[in-house]
Subunit: 320 residues, 4 copies
């Protein structure tokens, strides 16, 4: 049993890690760190955790073998600067501090998208967990990018309200958001750079991404549709995708139409491809808190530790 | 055309009054008062009001012939104390300051439930608009109360999120409220006294009300089910209700099952009665912002001013 | 008062017409035609219509001055072939039978998008009412198309469940659709041809449209985002749109972000434009049953009859 | 590993059993029986089951050690009459055929509410799984009933759409049900008898139950509030409940307010008690498909087989 600490356990991704790790067979939770909620039971913040985890949040971290950082963007660096973390501790950062540039202190954070980086993640001590939209978009595009078949991409994606975190804002107010759709950060979402860095890593070809994120009127999940041009046959494209994801236990290329609910409360990504003339549309869906955040973090932990990739991630889908 | 002012126009019930009064044929809006949002266009706060009302909120009220107070509870008294309102001005208070005791300054606020008070409201200058739950529950019970047939009542009611106003709270956060149900103010809701005052006004019989309010995962509407004991035949009870509401243009006693959507975006109340052995259940549904607040306020204005009761209230239902 | 008949009054768009026309000052409803529900009160099918319209559906149409056809696609032609309609009767078809080719019998259906065709609609006797997605997409693109500034367009749109009509299908089952998102008719939606016919009518430039429709988890509304390339300044584009819609009472070009709820239960379309580098995104939102169907049909009727364009269409927004 | 068969695996509760049993450490699925969908992969009906279970539905059952019947009411008897089931097979019926009278063929079905019957369930071969509402209501009332402290009960409960099964009906149509609330089977719900049989089993006291079920606009979950009279102190009642549920791993008596989401996708029941004067309100919440159906069935299986009660039921809550 490895000792695990979660920094920022009071947030959505932090609490989702607790939901996962409470049942993980190889770890034990050592501390749940929160400055603002220190002294509060995690199950008082998230009552669904009653009987799952009865730990109290603390602002006194201890030495652990695995450390998850679930902090607002830019605060992971601060936390690592202000706290002592042993060199042998596996640090998995769920923020975006180390995704574009992984060098920090004497650590080198590896981009934790197992579907392209599984070999590089084995045994490492520092992992930058991808963003939620970045995961859904990359999984939809990687097989084409790897073959140099990608040029300009037009993507629309919709995200559940948990993507906005627990802060109270006008756009997370129920009265506003229920039955509502809106766009935000049009063409300028912070995940675009992260996606392009990976898509353009395969060859010289310059991939462009026009990404329009929408806010959805549901809590969990991301659904994206990406439009690209290609002269390949649909069946060849599908084969390309099946080959690419042959070793990926959590990615499923579906011949039939997909929908968001197929993945809610699972660590999976489902993909469906359609084609008309030379226009290809790739749809993808994930649970933003699982494959888009905490589930993928556990998957990365499993790989880094040499455990089975799906350990603790065989989750009952919510289904309905 | 009568001049109208709305105090607290920046809130939900205030903005809903704007939605109604912008199309009312007998009035013109003179000012929309808000201290906190003075200088802001109402359509910047509520963009659905663009092209409906382009007025700017002000903290300088002017003299008007009709004044609506849409303030948090207890602040109507303060506002009337600090501002000069002409004796001839019709004041309609949507808060609960004058519902139980209507005497204030030289005014005597009449309880504005037209279904029991229509005659008393004609020509008056001060009206206390009923609460939303209070309206739905009273309309479900009044015909039995008037005949002295009511003893102990067990009521459960569910309300949309607009009932909680626009403030950001954990219980109005989309992530929490979506697909969720919860109880609040069990047996102690502030509308109970208001309901009992009316129900017990008809005769000596002491009516009791055990009321459990629930928060619903929708924005508009109130649905209630009240259980009472009675030896009357169902058909007699239905006839009692139909007689009682014969002159009430906005109350419909329905022989078929009712549901919340039948009244959303209308000023109506629908009622359905069922009976098994000697147990009677009366269901009622209203739109909490209309018949439960701003719509009823306009109805009261129409009656007080001697206009047709449904003027400006023939609203297209949302239906779906 | 003009006599009006509605064929297919038992469907969603037909019943929505009833909601609108019941309060329209210039018309009276003569008959509500339905073969399958003949003999049933419309308010038994749509209980929100109780007190709004107490008519009974019939399969015996009478002569009227204005006739609305709210039939499944391809059935308008059948109905007109099997029933006698006077030459002087204004026929407004809400289906897609006459949108691409308006010649039928001795009639010539004019495409009823008032924002481009207002002059041509005045006094006509035959109007083909546009599709819902077609309306939202065209209003987002017309100002650029008219100037020949449009090339390839990438559009994603999301529609409420009322767009799928009242038939019970797996994709309209609440358990499936709630909190769910899915794509359908990717790149092949039937409205694409209708949109392109208009966009390409202005000049020789060949506009292409890659359109991905999504099913949303709400009942009313359409939200679209269209991505195009342009070297114009954003302010110039906005000015272009404001100029184009100067005479359009129901279209509003908004400088601030828009959302779906701004238009629910109104006949309006709101538009918001954003730009990054040479990429322009135009967002638009309408209520699919109003500006996307029955509201626009009333607008077209008003124009054809020489009445004020917004007669009967000053609707209280639902707002929340 | 025990061989398990599921009859009616194509329905909601049947598929939910698959979701649970696919990960249960002591069983292996032998067959999924469905007459109407024989030959179809279960994951084609429920795509969330892809990668979870790739079995194909069959109409040829084989001999198993544990058999779950997930059939419409009254069809369990038919199925058992028409198929041969070994005497040693544990049969768990999720319908209501054997809840009131457990005698059938040479079997004697034990009522499978572990919180009152755990000892009686150990080693048995026939279990009648309780109804969903019946579970939520009984768990809210049993501690008082056992002490003879219960007289007349007034309960309102609200259920998610999965309670109505997968059939397409007007009341499960998204357009109707979204944002809607309605009552059904007022005072006559089929679970009332089942509840009263248990509540009145403790002593001579005659308990009455006035139960109003509501349809909710969410998919999973049941929330109930029951009002009773009592002269006990609140703290004594809470203690009574804590004592009663001391050995119940899935029931939690909560001092703080509960809400539906605390239990979605878990096998738990949460209870909260409030009191005002001599009126006591007990709130309870469960997931109707888990503690209200398939989860409880697995719990019963575990008990009957002598396994740990929570085996395969430590589920990640959906939380949001």
């Amino acid at each position: 049993m490895k000792k695990v600490g979660i920094v920022g356990a009071n947030g959505y991704t932090g609490s989702e890690l607790v939901r996962l790790l409470a049942f993980h067979p190889m770890i034990e939770l050592s501390f749940l760190y929160s400055r603002s909620n220190s002294g509060t039971k995690i199950s008082d913040l998230y009552p669904d955790l009653a009987t799952v985890c009865e730990m109290t949040l603390t602002d006194k971290p201890s030495q652990v073998e695995i450390l998850f950082l679930c902090l607002p963007h830019k605060e992971s660096q601060n936390w690592l600067s202000q706290n002592t973390v042993g060199d042998e501790t596996l640090v998995i950062d769920l923020g975006n501090d180390f995704r574009l540039d992984g060098s920090f202190q004497n650590r080198n954070f590896i981009y934790g998208l197992p579907e392209i980086n599984k070999k590089n993640l084995s045994g490492v001590k520092s992992i930058a967990n991808p963003g939620c939209f970045a995961t859904a978009i990359q999984l939809a595009l990687l097989p084409l990018a790897e073959k140099g078949l990608l040029n300009e991409v037009y993507t629309t994606g919709i995200t559940g309200s948990t993507g906005a975190g627990q802060s109270l804002q006008s756009t997370t107010h129920f009265t506003w958001r229920n039955d509502n759709i809106s766009a935000y950060k049009t063409l300028t979402h912070q995940h675009v750079d992260e996606v392009l860095q990976q898509l353009n890593s395969f060859n010289d070809k310059k991939v462009g991404l026009n990404f329009i994120p929408w806010r959805g009127d549901f809590t969990r999940g991301i659904f994206t549709s990406s439009t690209v041009k290609s002269d390949l046959e649909l069946s060849d494209i599908e084969q390309l995708y099946r080959d690419f994801y042959e070793e990926a236990p959590f990615v499923k290329v579906n011949e039939r139409a997909i929908d968001l609910k197929q993945v809610v409360n699972t660590n999976r990504c489902v993909i469906h491809i359609e084609k008309n003339d030379n226009v290809v549309v790739i749809h993808s869906a994930i649970d933003n808190l699982l494959k888009g955040a905490s589930g993928q973090a556990v998957q990365n932990m499993n790989i880094a530790m040499g455990w089975k990739e799906n350990l603790g991630l065989d989750l009952k889908p919510v289904g309905f």
